[in-house]
Symmetry: C2
Subunit: 235 residues, 2 copies
């Protein structure tokens, strides 16, 4: 454990996903007493322009507010920064430039976890926002490893993913879970062997409705939390 | 909702209680979308001297580390500060002096909640650390309202409360819950009509073991979260 380690969490996207990420940090860290737990400073300010609307061209950019949060976390002394929101990584390069502390990339953490799996899949489905899918980071890195990628259709996103995601943001986990289960099932039906749940609302909702296929999924927030905990533990 | 509102949370005491408090803030705030949720910056740094040992004279004071956290929260722009740890309120006056942002007092929030209860109790038990009990804030304010106070004995604290509390800090909620149920039951047996669970580990552990008497308890962390949410909502 490093004396100078302090994890900055750029959260608020959404606020519930930020709590979920903190719980994952806690669970990922073996500790017999408080003092062994990972130290963090968490910017959980959800008054930030909608990322999905911004990338669809129907709303203002969240970049100034994201940079404000990054600046505050640096001022608070963060040695590393994690962003438990896949879509916000659209602005990763600009945020990295604005940050003295290195920002861990959620896609790198996820691919590292996937590569450590005992049974490496050949066909991987991705549940994500339009913005994350359009950015293409997951697809590029998976294809580079010879893995076939199965994506939601535009109609599936409109009918299941987007309303499911916003239901979670309203705290309606059962409603959101039911919609997101349909989205997940469609990807399995098209041949996916495992799913990357690349939007932080999705695993929360699927867990809330006890989706039976959860063991077949990869959660980027979990991969990112594990990477942060390993850094703290000096692994 | 105030443009300039930003809740600073001085957490880390312990780290799990800090997560629990954030969930209470979330649940206490009616919101249809992310942007309506309470904005916060959370200092969750558990590398801080043990408060119970400090007050028992067997360890160093946590005051410098508490002031460091308060300073960081002020630098991050906090408009108000909450401390979801009863024992840390032992240093309330010194922390208030070091803070530009007002610090909400957990005892004031709890007494306000007690006074709003439909059926105001005549005999109240308190589960708390040696330090909180020795400080006497809860007792003084309850007695001033004509309420009789029932406290744990030194033997009960040593056998049930202290080991129960440290079990929670290790993440062993079932073990901690079983010990703290015995502490609670002893206070009910001596005539308490309701209990103030004045140590943030206690309600977490009692909920984990589904203690049947939970509806008969007051949780200062919950009262503090409600007060913070009301401020954000402009109530």
């Amino acid at each position: 454990m490093s004396e100078s380690f302090l994890l900055g969490v750029l959260g608020g996207m959404g606020p519930l996903a930020t709590l979920d990420f903190q719980r994952r940090l806690f669970d990922a860290t073996p500790a017999q007493r408080d003092q062994q737990q990972l130290p963090s400073v968490v910017w959980n300010v959800p008054q930030i322009a909608d990322r999905q609307q911004a990338l669809a061209g129907t709303g203002p950019s969240p970049l100034p507010q994201l940079i404000h949060g990054i600046t505050r976390l640096n001022q608070a002394g963060a040695s590393h920064i994690a962003i438990p929101c896949n879509t916000a990584h659209h602005w990763y390069d600009a945020l990295s430039e604005a940050s003295d502390a290195p920002i861990l990339h959620i896609v790198d953490a996820t691919l590292a976890a996937l590569n450590q799996a005992a049974d490496k899949p050949q066909r991987v489905g991705i549940i994500a926002t339009h913005g994350t899918l359009a950015a293409g980071w997951y697809q590029q890195k998976l294809i580079a490893q010879g893995i076939e990628v199965i994506e939601p259709t535009a109609q599936e996103l409109a009918e299941w993913f987007v309303p499911g995601c916003y239901a979670v943001k309203r705290g309606e986990l059962d409603e959101g879970g039911a919609l997101l289960v349909r989205q997940a099932q469609a990807l399995f039906d098209r041949g996916a062997q495992t799913l990357i749940l690349a939007c932080t609302e999705v695993p929360i909702a699927l867990a809330a409705v006890n989706a039976p296929f959860l063991p077949l999924t990869f959660d980027p927030a979990q991969a990112l939390a594990q990477r942060c905990s390993q850094l703290w533990q000096g692994i």
